[in-house]
């Protein structure tokens, strides 16, 4: 009975010893994954900015990726303020005026209107944390369905999963995000009522080129002809966003200057702004990565201390248990000596027992450790935080595909799994036996020095 208790106690100590290296490895892997993920995201964003260098985005206020988005339950410093903004529009004539500015190649008009109805959405953050946000159920995006725009500026989604994409001069039809088919309860060919108007669903799309779903909002857009959108939303002749394309990158600055002076209601964003945003993100993520790496090296320091404590604890447990055992079995030792056991025989007997005790404890420890490693390492070691220390509330449409949702998407990609390796287990077994030997050295020596005549009197 006592042996079982001791073995379980020792087993826990051994389990700690196993879990710690596993936790370190997991942390290292997580930091590595974060770095890799971050680098590839940065590259993608950089490429995207380069390919859209001639694009000048002109947005009306309230026009953003997550206008109307409202956060609850997020961690401190989360990059969204969550202020409700009133949607404003500009007249289509503005587009015509901009078109006449020298060096402007094309102006693509968009109208984005969000439904007044909202839905609660839960997204998974890293480490099992979840965040709930409130956002419009759907957003309609009216697009100028002009064949050259469709071809040149990829204004429509590309990943069509059912039906077909929108075509030039389509009218009365809608392309739904796959997330919305369930909401409306419709499929390709069905009619759907949006803002009181009836549309035929011609196709369903999915967000393309994006990895796991972790940390992302579901896209909830419905694409249609801009004229249809204007009619449905009751804002005929108005647009909410203009994508201005310059003939040449060298013209971008001057065009942007002219627009922002002439139309103060428009927020003008050029590739330079996007680059500086990218810089901000880079700074932010670098901080996160640095702190992750600091955590990893801190982990090693903590782990060294903890392993030393565990080693000490194991030896001490064995020491006291064996001392008690030797005391308790004094008479037996006397008997053994009386029937001809040498000092060495007695000593090796007790050494062996101590080693066997900790060997069994080692096996128990591995069993506990394998099951409990994630928990134990969670308690014992500092964990990598996937969140940066500060956030950036400005996210431009240019980052939408690559970064989508900042911190989550980039850094929280991998879940930390803590699994002790076979090597760790074998080392732990070896260490257990060694510590058993160490701990029972003195008790065994005491046993061997027992004088038989006195031992026999001991009851």
């Amino acid at each position: 009975m006592r042996a079982i208790l001791v073995i379980i106690a020792l087993g826990f100590v051994m389990a700690i010893m196993i879990s710690i290296p596993a936790g370190i490895i997991a942390n290292q892997e997580a930091a590595q994954a974060m770095t890799t993920n971050f680098n590839s995201t940065m590259t993608t964003m950089q490429e995207q900015i380069n390919t859209t260098a001639t694009l000048i985005e002109c947005q009306t206020s309230g026009q953003g990726m997550f206008s109307g988005g409202n956060f609850s339950g997020g961690p401190g410093g989360f990059p969204f303020g969550g202020l409700q903004q009133q949607q404003t529009y500009v007249e289509e004539s503005v587009a015509d005026a901009i078109r006449s500015i020298g060096g402007v190649k094309d102006v693509v008009e968009f109208l984005t209107v969000s439904s007044s109805e909202t839905t609660s959405e839960t997204i998974n953050g890293p480490g099992g944390r979840t965040f709930t946000i409130s956002r419009p159920v759907y957003t309609i995006t009216g697009v100028t369905l002009n064949s050259s725009f469709i071809d040149d500026y990829s204004i429509l989604p590309t990943n069509i999963t059912a039906g077909r994409n929108l075509r030039p001069d389509d009218s009365g039809v809608v392309l739904l995000n796959s997330n919305l088919t369930a909401y409306f309860g419709v499929g390709v060919g069905d009619k759907v009522g949006i803002y009181g108007e009836s549309f035929t669903v011609v196709g369903v799309y999915d967000e393309a080129g994006q990895g796991g779903s972790q940390g992302r909002f579901e896209a909830r857009s419905a694409y249609m002809n801009i004229t249809d959108a204007q009619t449905a939303a009751g804002v005929t002749g108005n647009v909410s966003r203009l994508d201005v394309y310059a003939e040449d990158v060298s013209d971008v600055d001057s065009i942007a200057e002219v627009i922002s002076v002439a139309y103060t209601s428009l927020q003008v964003t050029t590739y330079k702004d996007r680059l500086s945003q990218l810089d901000n993100m880079q700074t932010m993520y670098t901080q996160t990565l640095t702190s992750a790496q600091a955590t990893v090296s801190n982990t090693e320091t903590v782990a060294t201390q903890e392993i030393m404590i565990a080693v000490g604890a194991t030896s001490l447990i064995v020491l006291f248990v064996m001392l008690y055992t030797v005391r308790e079995r004094t008479k037996e030792i006397g008997t053994l000596k009386a029937i001809g056991f040498s000092n060495w025989n007695v000593m090796s007997q007790f050494m062996l027992e101590g080693m066997l005790l900790s060997l069994v404890a080692g096996v128990v420890g591995i069993a506990i450790g394998t099951v409990g490693a994630p928990l134990l390492s969670g308690i014992l070691l500092p964990q990598i935080s996937p969140f940066g220390s500060s956030g950036n509330s400005q996210f431009s449409r240019g980052f939408e595909n690559a970064g989508n949702f900042g911190n989550f998407g980039i850094l929280g990609a991998s879940t930390v799994t803590v699994t002790p390796s076979l090597q760790t287990m074998l080392i732990a077994i070896g260490a257990a036996v060694l510590l058993g030997a160490l701990g029972s050295l003195y008790p065994a020596w005491r046993a061997s020095r027992t004088r038989p005549a006195e031992a026999m009197r001991y009851e």
Binding site: T335, L336, K337, A338, I339, G340, F341, N343, R451, A453
Partner: protein, 260 residues
């Protein structure tokens, strides 16, 4: 002329208790011949156990000689003494002192550990010894599943493991009921007769002692009286329990009806 197995000359053992010296043994002279069955008797504190410990090389005498098989073991170092204990002496204890986690046959094998005897032979010998003490079929039993008498039989078999020159028994019947007591005494007597095993037994039970060949009375650490025992064992034609005459092939004593 019988061969001397054990001889002591002016054997003394002094314990220091605080400032006072206690003489447990003082100038004790003793001689035990091969094949003898000797009882040592005496009141409490007379030095019986000390004597047995010194004879069994568990304790060193303060002075004097102790010659076992022509070797003076009184001043041998521990690294020699354990060999003497293992090969020359068989111990039987009042409380049996079997190892609880070993079964009967493993307990008997214990003293053979560390000898050159191969493993299989040890097991074989242990089984034979258990058969000799009448425990065939109980070899795999652990001590807690054996009766007190059976445990003492195992202990006797263990004492015989390395064919010792002498068996030292410290109150071997002290923890046994009357019936079992005689069985053990008889077993020792039979070993003494059949195998010529030399036995020295400490007891304060005069009835038990009377079944030996020779009784030594110990007082204040020295032998004050020596008398012949009933010598039953050698004659075997006297009932060890009641002393009446028996025939060589009697199964029970004709007068007291005890099983022989």
């Amino acid at each position: 002329m019988s061969e001397i197995v054990l001889r002591t000359e002016k054997l003394s053992k002094i314990y220091t208790m605080g400032k006072r010296d206690v003489k447990a043994l003082s100038n004790l002279n003793l001689q035990v011949n091969k094949g003898e069955y000797v009882a040592i008797m005496g009141p409490s504190g007379s030095g019986k156990t000390t004597l047995l410990n010194v004879l069994g090389c568990l304790d060193k005498p303060t002075s004097g000689k102790m010659i076992l098989n022509d070797v003076d073991v009184a001043n041998l170092p521990e690294k020699e003494l354990y060999k003497i204990r293992r090969n020359k002496i068989g111990f039987v204890f009042q409380t049996f002192n079997l190892l609880p986690y070993l079964n009967a046959v493993e307990n008997v094998e214990l003293p053979m550990e560390g000898t050159k005897r191969p493993k299989g032979e040890r097991r074989e010998r242990a089984r034979k010894l258990l058969e000799l003490v009448g425990l065939s079929g109980r070899e795999e039993h652990r001590p807690q599943r054996l009766s007190a008498g059976e445990q003492q039989r195992v202990a006797i078999a263990r004492a015989l493991a390395n064919d010792p020159a002498i068996i030292l028994a410290d109150e071997p019947t002290g923890n046994l009921d009357t019936q079992t007591k005689y069985e053990i005494v008889k077993l020792l007597a039979n070993l003494n007769i059949d195998r010529g095993t030399t036995v020295v037994m400490v007891t304060h039970d005069s009835q038990i002692a009377s079944h030996t060949e020779r009784m030594l009375l110990l007082k204040d650490g020295t032998i004050i009286k020596e008398k012949q025992g009933l010598h039953l064992a050698k004659k075997k034609l006297v009932c060890p329990y009641c002393g009446s005459k028996i025939q060589p092939n009697d199964e029970r004593c004709p007068s007291c009806r005890k099983r022989l």
